[in-house]
Symmetry: C2
Subunit: 330 residues, 2 copies
């Protein structure tokens, strides 16, 4: 049983080159990145150059625990998807998703759509029809939350420009864009972004139908639809699902849909049932170093560092911790 | 059996809004886009606004048949993946892939790696070890083909800039970049791009191990690794495969690998066994109109046309034809 192919694995992306002896057990769940932390600091550590090395050297204070009140655990037959909500950008929708989750709205519903290179979407297959799941205390429709005042946000800008927005960067672990002249900021549709399905009418969404981006960032959606969070763990459980055969990637047969067992707020679960995650602070020195390491890849495989990076190519590391100890990778 | 969800399907991307009565049977295989052509022109056609409408109005001369000599049909248990080679950018590698295919090299090999949000990679699981598949007349290693002179290329530029390259656009149906000052052009790692796996040594690739991009465009790979073509049909058969559990998305168990039944050049197959495809010419008026329609989406769902588009968000339509007649969608 081998873990790497004998032939050139190229291209390398995740950074699994540190020896096991140098790694503490960590699980980095975001965007397929893997990393480690030095179990005991070497006496003469080399200057960090790769993402792995930078993360290995990060102080604990550069990580923040996810808030259980805005963390949703979505259980599929294949495993758990964890979503971090973004109430700073979509307070009404985040609140409504919480209300839906607490009403058990999603339990037993399904993934209804997987369009290749675009989105995986879930909700009530018979919404709006007889037999539709009741909303409980949640609202049926909300005005979209497409942008917010930039004032008051700690915005960590990227230096390399963007095709779609005047400025891009990060706010509290989310990929975001900013228009300084208009004084507005909004979340970007990067890989793993979670948005609120709606009909043509702008105010027709509620959070009862959600989608996750599973392809090249469809940034044309920015400011057209509410982004309410992002997937921080288990994204591959959504991205590797069978594509739907009907237009838009909808399933043409009900039995092709993937069921949702339950959706729960982490705060409502016993501690033992929570996936306890920490996200790298995007306003930290570690993150600044990580961005620079990804702008100019120093992995041995690279011939020509790009010198730049696109917003949605920046990894947003998340790691799992258990009982205050580092978790074993799984 | 419904083909669309009763609730907001949002966000729309593919354009399935024309009524069936207005559609001839066409199959557009690239990047999940769907489109149609007017069966009989309405007496007073509206000005084309959406991609569907633009494609429906396209003259036959704006499409080019794929060259069977540079079309590879890769047969998986789940169906057929079709790859168009790019000898204009990677002549040596395209020739070597052809030689490998004609030697039956890939028959019975496997997908060895699926890394979420990055690449699906296939080749010989025991390459370089006892039992490795022989290369026939193909070469074992080639110097990388990372860029070529821009002179002599019909380059259709995009107007909206790019994070990574001085200029981006299209060459003969491929997403490409150009550096006018250096006089160089190269292919971009967009969704569906097919590249040549290699080890750390630049000249260690051959085409015997290939990968397809299945996530947000990893443009940092541009000019670091040879792009030898792109997937023009069946990309979802590669992107929806189970992710590998080992580092880099390699499978940790041989039985988890997806087998490759055969790879054949279309030119070597009987006509009845070829998937006959036409690609929209990227130097055509139809493509120019399509790009503008995608820069400024006029679909009823959109609130705010982006006014710009990223290279890898531009659809590259491909359709299937049979016997000179439009094929039925499948």
């Amino acid at each position: 049983m081998t873990t790497t192919a004998p032939r050139p694995p190229a291209p390398h992306r995740a950074t699994s080159h540190l020896s096991a002896a140098h790694l503490a057990a960590l699980l980095l769940l975001a965007q397929g990145c893997a990393a480690g932390r030095a179990a005991s600091p070497p006496t003469a550590p080399p200057a960090p150059r790769t993402m792995d090395q930078i993360l290995a050297a990060s102080p604990a204070t550069d990580w923040r625990p996810l808030d259980p009140e805005r963390t949703v655990q979505l259980e599929l037959p294949s495993g758990r998807v964890v979503i971090e909500l973004a109430p700073a950008f979509a307070p009404e929708h985040a609140a409504n998703v919480r209300a839906l989750v607490r009403a058990g709205y999603f339990d037993g519903l399904a993934v209804v759509r997987v369009q290749d290179g675009f989105v995986t979407q879930w909700g009530d297959p018979v919404a709006g029809q007889p037999g539709a799941r009741p909303f409980g205390t949640a609202r049926q429709a909300l005005a979209p939350e497409l942008a917010r005042p930039a004032a008051g946000l700690a915005f960590t800008p990227l230096p390399d420009g963007d095709v779609y927005a005047p400025e891009v960067g990060f706010v509290d672990g989310f990929a975001a864009a900013r228009d300084g002249a208009a004084g507005l900021a909004w979340l970007a549709h990067c890989y793993g972004a979670v948005g609120v399905g709606r009909d043509d009418a702008p105010g027709s969404g509620s959070g009862a139908e959600l989608y996750a981006v599973i392809g090249h960032a469809p940034r044309q959606l920015d400011r057209n639809v509410t982004v309410v969070g992002r997937v921080v763990a288990g994204l591959a459980l959504l991205s590797a699902l069978p594509r739907g055969a009907a237009p838009g990637g909808f399933y043409d047969r009900p039995e092709a849909r993937t069921p949702l067992r339950t959706a729960r707020l982490a705060a409502d679960l016993p501690h033992a049932d929570r996936t306890r995650l920490e996200a790298l602070r995007t306003d930290s020195a570690t993150f600044t170093a990580l961005v620079e390491a990804r702008r100019n890849r120093r992995d041995a495989w690279y011939l020509r560092p790009a010198g730049k990076i696109d917003l949605c190519n920046v990894p947003l590391p998340v790691r799992e911790v258990k009982g205050g100890e580092a978790a074993t990778p799984r």
